[in-house]
Amino acid sequence: MDDSNFESEVLKSDKPILVDFFATWCGPCRMQGPIVEEVAVEIGDKAKVGKMDVDACPQTSQKFEVMSIPTIIIFKGGQAVKTFVGLQDKQSLIDEINKVI
């Protein structure tokens, strides 16, 4: 995902979507990445999961005021409904997605 398809993929998504804002230079993000992938597998087609490189997508990162990474935002109906800052475990993310499905 990037700035160009953020609106169609996230804001206009018919399902809730979890977006992992990361950077390639960020250690904790590299640990968060595989956890988010596990969430994607476990949650199946009930919700979507996406990743955004904050360096490659400055507009979206600024718009949602991503100031510390990893930041994970769950969007539903075009709105950010939950924001996590810092490393998150699989279960916490799945629990939050389940709340908005």
Binding site: A23, G27, M31, V54, M67, L87
Partner: protein
């Protein structure tokens, strides 16, 4: 009880992850509760004193620890522990999300960046207030930031941020910068870094994100001024954040957990390892070693509690009360 762990390990840096690996290899039902992975070690650019590996990045080294823990099937929970209380023979570990029970606990949560303790700081943490320039710095490209601190880490952060940010204010609350003089001289030459002494943050302001700081002159606190900016990088050193353990285990005057050479704390069943303890040297290899010791001692404790005696491969066979046991009698 299903959710009763043999051991809960608090922290996932070198000490915590090593403890976890040792506990798993002893077949203990283990849970690691941590706010992040790899601790301070994961932020080191180069580690050149981990024996057997000439040079490795701190992140890669800690990621190897984590991958090894994953292979052993270790369970992680990335929450914050609020307190530990005794309940019968077990301990209740309360986190910001749930209550967990364990027969023993290992405290290995390392050191935490020191807070400024000013209004607005806690509310705006992660919203412009940050404690790690190399983690969050690149998100402040072209912005205005303050770096708070006078030591080497503050000066290094200011130098790093000067390449990214438009303007950097470097604030010392005393009459000088205590970092290496060569480093101070270098930073003074950078055109977009403004060094200020006698300058103390009184308040961090902003709605949803940092918008400004209120500075007071430490010689006359009535004199204040407000600076508009986007980020505050706190580099005020590190501390063992153990306020939540007061009354649970004994702490020294620096707030570090007092441990004996077997990593036991003042509370039987709670062990300590690594930088959050009163160990003299804060080093990755030492923390890992202490983590191993704490795990073996926790194993010994849990086994002794359940069987009434300590297995002979852990030295002389004794009862939990410390009496020598003839193993032929206790079967």
């Amino acid at each position: 009880m299903d959710n009763l762990y043999d051991v809960i390990i608090v922290g996932a840096g070198p000490a915590g992850l090593t403890s976890a690996i040792y506990c798993a290899r002893r077949q203990m039902k283990t849970l690691i509760v941590a706010k992040s992975l790899g601790g301070q070690a994961a932020l080191a650019n180069d580690v050149e004193n981990w024996p057997g590996i000439e040079n490795i990045s701190g992140f890669e080294l800690m990621n190897n620890f984590k991958l090894q823990a994953d292979k052993l099937g270790l369970e992680f929970n990335f929450n914050e522990v609020l307190n530990i209380t005794k309940s019968g023979d077990n301990f209740v570990v309360k986190t910001n999300k749930d209550e967990l029970q364990a027969k023993s606990a290992i405290l290995s949560f390392g050191l935490t960046p020191r807070d400024l303790g000013v209004p607005g700081e806690a509310e705006l943490k992660g919203r412009g207030v940050t404690y790690c320039a190399i983690c969050d710095g690149p998100l402040y490209k072209g912005k205005v930031v303050a770096v708070v601190g006078a030591g080497n880490s503050a000066l290094e952060s200011a130098e790093y941020m000067s390449k990214l940010a438009k303007q950097v204010y470097l604030l010392s609350n005393s009459d000088k910068f205590t970092a290496d003089p060569v480093l101070v001289e270098d930073v003074q030459k950078i055109s977009n870094v403004e060094l200020t002494c006698f300058s103390k943050i009184k308040e961090i302001k902003g709605v949803g994100k940092v918008e400004s700081i209120v500075l007071a002159d430490t010689r006359d606190e009535e004199k204040t001024k407000e600076i508009k900016l986007d980020g505050v990088f706190v580099e005020a050193g590190h501390q063992a954040k153990t306020g939540w353990l007061k009354g649970t285990v004994d702490l020294n005057d620096k707030g570090e957990i007092i441990t004996n050479r077997d990593c036991e704390t003042s509370e039987a069943g709670i062990f300590g390892a690594g930088d959050c303890t009163d160990t003299t040297y804060k080093q990755i290899v030492i923390a890992a070693g202490e983590g191993a010791k704490a795990a073996l001692q926790a194993y010994k404790y849990v086994v002794a509690k359940s069987s009434g005696y300590i297995k002979p491969d852990w030295g002389k066979c004794k009862t939990v009360q410390g009496e020598d046991v003839n193993l032929n009698m206790v079967k």
